[in-house]
């Protein structure tokens, strides 16, 4: 009995301790629901948002559904309950995000989508899309491939993220779009997911090199860390310089690899700018200004030719 009372007191004390002081008062509240906070691009976005929010005096709160669409829906509802002034959503799943975004709309809270857009049927409930479209990133990579290989026949290996994830599917679709435009006769000989993991990409590529001892001309890893894993596998198997590896993101080590000639190219995604633009858009909405429906952060195709201009933008 006494022990239990003690436990109650302990719980209360513990909870009171772990509750950090709530954010200081600012002019308006922005509620951000990420896709999954465990990704470098999110860190860059958060940096951009924080820097810009400090200028505008906005309060930004972040939520992480860890790539679970149901949790994301719940968190959007939490944002509505918090009576945020603007909600920014990085959709885990475009279709599943429609219903909760509609709720925010009905509650009169403006919604911005960030980096991953909502499905077309949910577009009418959002103010704007801020970010770089994953399909554009894929398109930029596809273009780089076309520049390098022209209309020669080439065999491509795709190293993907998690099966079915929007970014993965769209980036590949974007690349294919660029090929189709240029009538490039490239063939995807393998398309397997490696779960955004460098180590899994390394293993997968090692096995793929065993399976296709000759014939792989290009690899598109839909994320730079995986591209680096692929390069490690290529080096270990002694195929250095024979295969063109492309990534997406613009991570520091990818830029380094492009400089060294290990990697053929990447689509630099300016996540920091995405964060900045989102806060600016939120501010404009809050001030009652009209904003554009699509605020795109530029995607820069980076190869060895232009790496020097861009290297300080890598993150």
């Amino acid at each position: 009995m006494k022990k239990n009372l003690l436990f109650l007191l302990f719980c209360l004390a513990f909870m009171a301790l772990v509750m950090p002081v709530s954010a200081e008062e600012g002019t308006f509240d922005i509620c951000v629901v990420h896709n999954s906070a465990d990704h470098p691009s999110i860190t860059a976005i958060v940096q951009g948002m924080n820097d810009e929010a400090a200028i505008f005096g906005a309060n930004v709160t972040y939520f992480d559904p860890a790539a679970d669409p149901q949790k994301q829906a719940s968190m959007i509802e939490d944002c509505i309950a918090r009576q945020a002034d603007v909600i920014v959503v990085n959709c885990v799943d475009p279709t599943a995000a429609v219903a909760p975004i509609k709720k925010a709309f009905e509650a009169g809270i403006p919604v911005l989508t960030q980096n991953a857009d909502v499905a077309p049927e949910g577009k009418e409930f959002t103010y704007a899309f801020v970010g770089s479209q994953s399909i554009d990133q894929g398109y930029a990579v596809g273009k780089m491939m076309v520049e390098k290989f022209g209309d020669k026949e080439a065999k491509v290996v795709i190293i993907g993220g998690n099966p079915g994830q929007t970014d993965y599917v769209n980036r590949v679709a974007g690349a294919e779009m660029a090929w189709a435009e240029a009538n490039a006769p490239y063939e995807i000989i393998s398309d397997q997911p490696a779960g955004w993991s460098k180590d899994k990409a390394l293993t997968l590529m090692t096995d793929l090199l065993t399976r296709f001892p000759t014939g792989i001309d290009m690899v598109y890893a839909v994320d730079d860390p995986m591209a680096i894993g692929v390069i490690e596998a290529i080096k270990a198997a002694g195929y250095e310089g024979e295969i063109a590896v492309y990534g997406t993101n613009g991570n520091v080590d990818a830029c380094e690899a492009i400089k060294n000639g290990d990697m053929a190219g990447t689509a630099l995604q300016m996540s920091y700018l995405v964060g900045v633009y989102a806060v600016r858009a939120a501010y404009d909405i809050n001030q009652g200004r009209l904003i554009s429906e699509e605020i795109l952060a530029p995607t820069a195709p980076i190869t060895i030719d232009n790496i020097d201009e861009w290297s300080d933008m890598c993150w």
Binding site: F7, L8, C11, A37, D78, G164
Partner: protein
């Protein structure tokens, strides 16, 4: 009477946790936390985790564990959306039957194949995930029937529909476990399978039934989720299994079998739901949220284990005729 209630509450660590969460968030963020919209939101959010935690409670009672519920959830959500054009409720029926089928498969493998539940369901987890990815072609499926969203996204009055559905199911499970012979058999099997067998209980059959219930509940959660999001995605149910286990154990179930309470489990899920909601309202950064949830889980599990040992020792002392 009041003293009795007070005493009862203090007996249950989970209720203490629940209350203290309520008090802390009420004090710190009362305006946001205790308003009608937020409570409505919490009720809806937890209603998808309750069936999962109940599924685990049922199998934990017979001394098993079911890791396949996350995959079953996403597959039944996919079926609900995928077959919807043929008939909305026909699709729901198929989805629920699929859950029961996987539960049956688990049960048969465990009883006839003599494989421990942890391993069997780890295998079916991978298997069902593969089936789900094949069936959905790794794509999201959008719902066609707008009226179906009533079950997951609608409300009756101010109360969200899914919580009503789920609480009715919980009530039925409560009655089955507590007042039927089948329910008592489950506890007996989990407590001591050999003496249950000697007492004439068909251990294998009952175990299979328990796993079928588990599969059904996981599928139910999937159906409700499909209705809530009006779509199914391959990302559903990713790490829900771990926290469902945690909620069931916090609610009084035991990995050793023979213990588990429907009421406790529901409170367990509610506590975790309130914790997450409250931290979101306060604006605790996500990295710390994970850590805080982990600390609470460890503390609850540890305290529960210590009290359980105490109770056992007290019982032994009483058996020797001594008073504590």
């Amino acid at each position: 009477m009041i003293r009795k209630i007070f005493h009862f509450i203090l007996q249950q660590n989970i209720i203490i946790l629940f209350l203290s969460l309520f008090i802390v968030f009420g004090i710190f963020k009362g305006d946001l936390f205790l308003n009608g919209i937020n409570l409505h939101n919490i009720a809806r959010q937890i209603s998808f985790d309750i069936p999962l935690a109940l599924a685990l409670t049922t199998v934990l009672i017979v001394g098993g564990i079911d890791l396949s519920i996350g995959s079953v959830l996403s597959m039944s959500a996919a079926l609900t959306m995928g077959i919807q054009p043929t008939g909305t409720y026909f699709a729901v029926l198929i989805a629920l039957l699929f859950g029961i089928l996987i539960g049956f498969l688990n049960g048969i493998l465990i009883t006839k194949g003599k494989v421990v539940p942890f391993i069997t369901t780890l295998g079916t987890m991978t298997l069902v995930k593969g089936i789900m990815l094949t069936y959905t072609k790794q794509l999201s499926i959008a719902g066609k029937d707008e009226s179906f969203t009533f079950w997951g996204d609608g409300s009756i009055g101010v109360v969200p529909t899914p919580i009503i559905v789920v609480l009715i199911v919980a009530l039925i499970l409560y009655i089955v476990l507590k007042y039927t012979k089948f329910g008592r058999n489950l506890y007996a099997i989990g407590g001591n399978p050999e003496s249950a067998y000697i007492a004439g209980i068909d251990v294998e059959k009952n175990k299979v039934f328990a796993f079928m219930i588990s599969g059904f509940l996981a599928a139910l959660s999937g159906v409700l989720l499909a209705s809530r999001l009006n779509s199914s995605t391959t990302q559903l149910g990713l790490d829900s299994t771990n926290w469902a286990i945690a909620a069931a154990i916090m609610g009084g179930a035991s990995m050793a079998g023979g213990r588990g309470k429907v009421f406790g489990t529901v409170i367990g899920v509610a506590s975790l739901g309130i914790l997450i909601n409250g931290m979101n309202l306060i604006g605790v950064f996500t990295y710390y949220q994970i850590g805080i949830r982990a600390l609470i889980l460890i503390i609850v599990v540890a305290v529960d284990a210590v009290t359980a040992t105490r109770i056992r020792e007290n019982l032994q002392l009483q058996a020797y005729g001594k008073r504590d």
